[in-house]
Amino acid sequence: MKEFKREDREVKLFVGPQHPGVTGNMSFEITLEGDTLTSVKTHVGYLHRAFEKLMERRLYIQNFPLVCRICVPESDTNEENYARALEELAGIEVPERAKWIRTLVLELSRLQMFIRWMGGIAGTMGLSTAPQWAIGDRDYILDLFEELTGGRIYHIYILPGGVRRDIPEGFEERVLKVMDYIEKKLPDYDDLIFENSVFKKRLIGLSKLDPAWVEEIGVTGPVARACGFPFDVRKEQPYEIYDKLDFDIITETGCDMYSMALVRRREIDLSINLIRQIIDKMPKGEVWTPLPNVLYWKIPAGETYVKTEATRGEFGYYVVTDGSDKPRRIHVRGVSTPHAYTLLERLVPGMNISDFSVTIVGLQTCPPEIER
């Protein structure tokens, strides 16, 4: 009788890039034994646009249309990060009101991303009602963005020295109205998604991480907070005006996919709370410090690393300048890089194949920020 070796029982399967279960344009090479995964290999590069090379060729101000395209669903984080890095290197002071408006934009952006994620994970599990609701509700926030900045997805609203213009009249009331609406809808989402027995049965215990990995691999964001680590850049290294707002870091202790989902669900409440606080406390004043002629703007030599709490974790910009009118080097720390590579490789062995795409969506990998 022929003896079967382990290699004979294993099947290699290519998931993506054209695959409905994969977020964005990335692919995975998975090895299966029966319907159990044994290993995974991530392949990226399908969205590589060579941003870092192009930014070295352009003036500082010309890079703003480029940076917002680095992570497509959450463009404001990129703009704010890049603007803050330039301000730090050039020594520009930002007016107080501009900081508050920036924080408002960042929180709105975070809120729309989490609502979109909520639809995404439910859609991956076959609950097709939730994406219809979530993406429809997210559009109310995009409408606010359109009123404020003129664009739905890409805003180019945050510039060094402040923001492009003041918020329009009556905007605060409209923001509050949308917040009321979303808050009213949230119990429905809870019933549909987070209290759903299928959702709970599939996610509780799925892709359980070892809390020791968090510091070892460099996991950040909701994945780290689901393991009980209170890592949040908004508290650790408060940027803009987060030190003037009153909030606590959200943590769960389950270390599994359901805890990550709960962290993100509670983050939605927190974002709504923060937006209300910002609108309540926002001071009056200027929103823009005039820059020198931006086409002739030279920044003294130096280097810095600034970071923001994006929805997925710590999003950083490493900027090196050499005294000329173009940046020397800009390196973006994509949050998903450790998640999609090192963490996924450790999570996957022993997982059922049907849970694989749920895991990818649950880790909230965003391919354009990995490869840029």
């Binding site: 054209q18 344009n25 399908y46 090379k53 249309p65 995009l142």
Partner: protein, 191 residues
């Protein structure tokens, strides 16, 4: 690749019908356009709002489908990296005729803001025939719907014949594709 028995290397044949049938087919095809779910670039962020409840593309017969075999329309949503171009050609050739391609965004027209990038192709229609371009960066869902309306009009009039041109000029397209994709490891035609 010649002696690999898993692939059929023949090129597809064209079947021609009488003009009356052709008109009937065109009328019917314009009413149901299924889009293959492949977000090739950042334009894919506006596809979910388009197909869900707010803009509701399904009232025009436009809906999403997971596999290229059942799809009629391939949306090239933005710039194509060279690595993606290879996959897009495979997906496009796997689709059943008649098939249509919609190019979203300024970067499919002439490279857009990535005109000097070493990894994105500038003129997508050199490699894959494109029936409708939707300009903008990125195009709003309304603009995409307008693009689909234009595509339907073209199909009804029988002018959306990019797939026929692709078969007629396959050698020209292949030459362009092979110039960019250096290691051509895929068969002559991807069935």
């Amino acid at each position: 690749m010649k002696d690999n028995k898993y692939f059929l290397d023949d090129r597809p044949e064209k079947i021609s019908y009488s003009e009356v049938w052709q008109k009937f087919f065109n009328w019917a095809r314009a009413k149901s356009l299924w889009v293959v779910a492949y977000g090739t670039g950042c334009g894919s962020i506006e596809i979910p709002p388009m197909v869900t409840s707010r803009f509701d593309a399904e009232r025009f017969g436009v809906s999403n489908v997971g596999t290229p075999r059942q799809a009629d329309v391939l949306i090239i949503s933005g710039y194509l990296a060279v690595k993606t171009l290879k996959r897009v050609i495979r997906v496009y050739e796997q689709m059943q005729s008649p098939k249509y391609v919609v190019g979203l965004g300024a970067c499919t027209v002439n490279g857009g803001m990535y005109y000097d990038s070493y990894n994105t192709v500038n003129l997508v229609d050199q490699y894959v025939p494109i029936d409708v371009f939707v300009a903008g960066c990125m195009p709003r869902p309304e603009a995409i719907l307008a693009g689909f309306a234009q595509l339907m009009k073209k199909i009804k009039e029988g002018r959306a014949d990019g797939w026929k041109q692709y078969l007629d000029n396959l050698d020209k397209y292949r030459k362009n594709q092979e110039k960019v994709i250096k290691n051509w490891k895929i068969p002559n035609y991807n069935w």
